[in-house]
Symmetry: C2
Subunit: 161 residues, 2 copies
DNA sequence: ACTCATATGAAACAAAATTGCATTATACCC
DNA sequence: GGGTATAATGCAATTTTGTTTCATATGAGT
């Protein structure tokens, strides 16, 4: 992912109202959105198109319940590296990015270098992952794992403005 | 959120293929999905409906680029509590859940008790948040903050099966 | 006042989702 | 095997939704 600001665009209150709706449910008919924000359906549609082109709207997706698809375990993993030279970091990023169990990956300041959020079927799967991490990368100094007992909130509704 | 397993449902290869597509782009026309998985559009539509009712599909949403809406700072926050009695935890969950800056919140095992992911406009906003946290809750022992330099991956595509 | 650029609503149009219906496949029971 | 119930399917009609067209309105700059 790696959020980028490609385009310049200013959002007015209409745009924000539209986004507020779409961030909760993008299957809402444009006519219904139009009614909610006091615009015509055509205007709503143009604004959505514009925001999509400007990559304000990054994508439109279905959120799947991990428990219902056999991935009941959520893990938060902190990774500390030995060497933090730029090229080494970039290499690590690429590798983590391409691991399917890695749902989210943040490169951060602070004690740790990376934060990961994983979804796995079993603890054995996690063991495979972490073992693989250590084996393939001698640069991994330390990893610290937390098991999520409760995913209290997994939101995608940004509080705009 | 707090993922739940309400219903029992078994997913076959068709369902998983459909999910794989919808997790990437839920605006994909059913006809196109149908073609990709070798079913009729009607069949695809019924399967999607079924999975939605069974809450395999939790929701359908637009993913908004936080940078483009003035929330360029991503933070990872670990919270450690003094008292971890059940009712205290539940209270903390409720409060965190209702904070708009809190995008994700996990109650975890390990050193920390909670992991949060926040999106804020400025560091001042974060200061407000953390100050508010300490003031309103004497049960917060310690918080540790990491600033995301790069959101390497913010995925929602689960690796099913 | 004129022009350019931009945004709008209403309506026509195109495309998509949804439903009804007949058919097929599978499992289970006598 | 014959019968029956259940569930899933494709096709086609229908309905809903998204998209485009067009005429009009607004505002900034000249």
């Amino acid at each position: 992912m790696s959020w980028k600001n490609n385009t310049s665009i200013t959002l007015d209150r209409f745009d924000i109202s539209i986004l507020d709706i779409l961030m909760k449910d993008n299957m809402t008919p444009q006519r219904q959105i139009a009614e909610a924000v006091n615009l015509s359906a055509a205007a709503v549609q143009r604004r959505i198109k514009k925001m999509t082109l400007a990559s304000v709207i990054h994508s439109n997706i279905a959120i799947v319940n991990p428990i219902m698809v056999g991935l009941p375990i959520t893990l938060i993993v902190e990774i500390e590296l030995v060497d933090v030279r730029n090229d080494v970091i970039e290499e690590a990023k690429t590798r983590l990015l391409n691991m399917p169990v890695v749902q989210q990956c943040y490169y951060v300041t602070g004690q740790a270098d990376f934060f990961l959020i994983l979804h796995v079927a079993t603890m054995a799967d996690y063991e495979n992952f972490s073992r693989n991490l250590f084996f393939t990368d001698p640069n991994v100094k330390k990893i610290r794992t937390s098991v999520a007992i409760d995913s209290v909130k997994v939101g995608h509704t940004l509080a705009i403005k």
